[in-house]
Structure formats: C-alpha cells, structure tokens
C-alpha cells in the first residue's frame, strides 16, 4: 500500500480501506511527504466534520481544525494511534475534532451554554421524550419503505456518493443497482418526504 497515492481522499484498492492507516505508519517513520499528505487529508476531513456544527464561526472552525490537527499529529508521532483500519482512524479524528469544536466555542463564549449540535451530554428527560416521539414518527414513515430504499435514502442524505452506495449494496447485500437507478430512487423518496408543523413528517 506504500504506493497508494494519498490525495484528498481514500480509495479502497481491494474492498478495504487501509491507505490511511498506512499513511499514519509512514508519518511515524518521519516521512515528510506523508506528513504533507496527512495535513491535506485532515483539512478535508475537518471541513466535513465541522460542517455539522453550523453555530461555529469560520474563525472558530479554523481554530478547532488547527487544535485538532496538532493534537492528532502528536498522537500519531508518539505512536498512540495504532489502528490498522481506516474506519477507526476516521472515528478517532472525528472525536478529536468534535472536542476541539466544543473547546473553541467555550473559549470564545465562556458564559454561553453549548448549542445542541455541540453538546457532549445526552438529552434532558424532556428532550428525550420529544426526541423519542419524533423518532418514532420517522421510523413509522421510513419503515414503510423497502430496506434497500432506506439504505439509499439515508446514505445519500449523509452525503455518501452514488458510486459508494452502489459498491456497498453489492458488498453488503449482493444487490446490483445502476448508479442512475440509485439517483432516481433517491429523488423519488425525497419527493415523498414532506416536513410538517413542528418537525412532523408526512409522506
């Protein structure tokens, strides 16, 4: 895997993602080119993770990214990120970024409470009841769809590409669906979803 070009993203060579774990191994070996690639990868990942926190200002995002990158680089260089699997590395980086985002918020607004998308606590009892009710409505709606439709819809909603969805349908379920069919089905499902008062969902 040493020859894998590590650009803005990761492409599996054999159905498994391990280019990232390989990159971190090279970083630990003081490979300067690997560190440059790490920086590019982390910047792209941070943009995606921090996009989930719309309450942060651009400056706070930049601060969070800087802090998280330094923290992760330190962990990598000291050999504390040892995973051989890219999923675990991405999961770890996501946690580091979320913590840095919270710190950035607290640093600039020490007297203000964390907004909901940044909170690191579970829901309050009242929020739990409301959330559970909302979730039940959602599950009632998408529960009427086929499992494949649900898979396509949620994956697309989370920003997974059509090509990856197609690959996953084959890998996980042995289902062969063309990219065009995936896109058409997603748009039809999306059209069926309508938002009603107070977050209720209607078909």
């Amino acid at each position: 895997m040493g020859s894998v070009r590590f650009g803005p993203g990761i492409r599996p060579q054999d159905g498994r993602h391990h280019a990232l774990a390989d990159l971190l191994r090279r970083c630990r070996g003081q490979d300067e080119a690997a560190w440059a690639a790490f920086r590019g990868w982390f910047h792209g990942l941070a943009a995606r993770v921090l996009a989930r926190f719309p309450n942060l200002t651009p400056v706070e995002r930049e601060e969070a990214e800087d802090v998280a990158r330094v923290a992760m680089a330190l962990e990598v260089s000291e050999g504390r990120v040892k995973s051989e699997a890219d999923g675990a590395v991405v999961g770890y980086a996501r946690v580091v970024l979320a913590n840095a985002a919270r710190d950035a918020w607290r640093r600039r607004r020490p007297s203000e409470p964390l907004p909901r998308d940044l909170t690191d606590r579970g829901p309050t009892p009242a929020e739990r009841v409301a959330l559970q009710a909302e979730l039940s409505r959602l599950e009632g709606l998408v529960g009427a769809w086929s499992a494949e439709d649900r898979f396509i819809f949620v994956m697309k909603l989370d920003g997974v590409s059509t090509a990856t969805i197609k690959a996953d349908l084959e890998r996980l379920y042995g289902r062969y669906v063309t990219p065009e069919a995936i896109d058409v089905r997603f748009h039809r499902l999306r059209a069926r979803l309508r938002w009603r008062d107070e977050g209720a969902i209607d078909a």
Partner: protein
C-alpha cells in the same frame, strides 16, 4: 432542504438516547465501513442496518468520511443553488460582490503602502502580501446576504491608521474589543495618503475583550 437537515440532526441525536438491543457500536460500524469486519459479523451487521435507521445513519456518517471528495461541501453548494433568493437580498448580494471586487481590483498595479506591488492573484491566493494589523474595534456592521454571512469592521489601528475591513462569517468581535486581523489592505484614497485603508480579512483574532 431544511427538513432533510433536521432529519439528519434528529438521527444524530437518536444515538444519544441509548443503544437499543442489537444496535451496533462505533467500532463495529467503523470496521464495517472500511471493510475490515470479519465476514460473519459483516453479515450480522448488514442485516441489522436493514431494520435500524439510527445505526444506518451512524454507518453512513462514517462511510461519508471515507469518501474521496467532500460531500458536505457538495450538499452545501446544491442547497445554495437551489435556494430561492428574494430580490432585495439578490441586489444586496450583487452590491456586496461589486464592493468587494472594487476593493480588490483597485489595488492592482499600484504602489499600495503596506501591501506592496504584488500581482492580484498571488495576493488573493494568500501566499503573499497578507499582513496583520492590530487595533480597537470601532464599529461592527452586518453585511450578510441570504446564504452568506459577512460583516464589516471599522478598526482604529495601533499604527494610527483607520481600517475598514470586510470579513466573511458572523462577527466574533464587539465594539471596543482589541483584535488582530490578518488580511489584505490598501489605501481608500490615494490622495489622502495611507491614513485610511480598506481591506479583506482572512482571519480575525480577539486579543482582548472590552
């Protein structure tokens, strides 16, 4: 589009309600996403994803981060393109763009005090010509349009100059704060010398609150 963002937010929170029986842990989801989960467990996890929309969303979140491109950015762009903009906001957007363009293009090919004579594209790339000024915030004016947050800072610089600075994003500083602003600056009026400058910030840091 708003409903979909809400849907994703709700699914994010669904995991905090506590795992239900059979729900997949983070390590399993990550291994499933990168293909390192053993075959038997992959089959079990895949079967669970067919029935559990919360775990499916958690899986999709990890899978998206293993993608070669930035889907979040693409989504944001699609939302921006699909947004219907009221005419007043559209006019404000165009006006802001014109002011910004004028600010930047009027610096081309001149002797420009603190910025120096740097080709515009090199300057805009942030590779050269950026400088940092410090001072006290005099005014903060909103310059946001429908999909773009922005504001304008008026700063009394420690160097005795006055700076009018366009900043992307919501304000992080208030009147009276001491700030350091990294950006590109040029004199507002050549005949008046370099006592008043305008510019575009690439970064604003609050050094001290009022």
């Amino acid at each position: 589009m708003r409903d979909e963002a809400r849907l994703v937010e709700m699914l994010d929170w669904s995991r905090t309600l506590g795992a239900r029986e059979g729900c997949l842990g983070d390590a399993t989801l990550e291994a499933l996403a990168d293909g390192s989960l053993p075959a038997v467990q992959t089959a079990a996890a895949s079967a669970h994803l067919r029935d559990c929309v919360c775990c499916l969303h958690a899986y999709a979140s990890v899978r998206a981060l293993l993608e070669p491109e930035a889907p979040a950015d693409r989504r944001a762009l699609r939302r921006l393109v699909a947004t219907r903009i009221p005419i007043g906001w559209a006019v404000a957007t165009v006006a802001a763009a014109m002011v910004l363009t004028w600010t930047l293009t009027s610096t081309v090919g001149r002797e420009r005090g603190p910025v120096g004579d740097v080709p515009l594209m090199v300057e805009l790339s942030g590779q050269q010509g950026a400088q940092t000024v410090s001072g006290a915030v005099q005014t903060v004016d909103d310059a946001s349009t429908t999909a773009v947050a922005a504001h304008v800072l008026e700063i009394a610089g420690e160097d005795g100059r006055r700076y009018t600075i366009f900043v992307w994003g919501s304000p992080t500083s208030r009147v009276g704060d001491r700030v350091s602003v990294k950006g590109h600056f040029a004199p507002i009026d050549e005949s008046a010398g370099a006592s008043a400058l305008r510019g575009v910030a690439t970064r604003v840091h609050v050094d001290a609150r009022r």
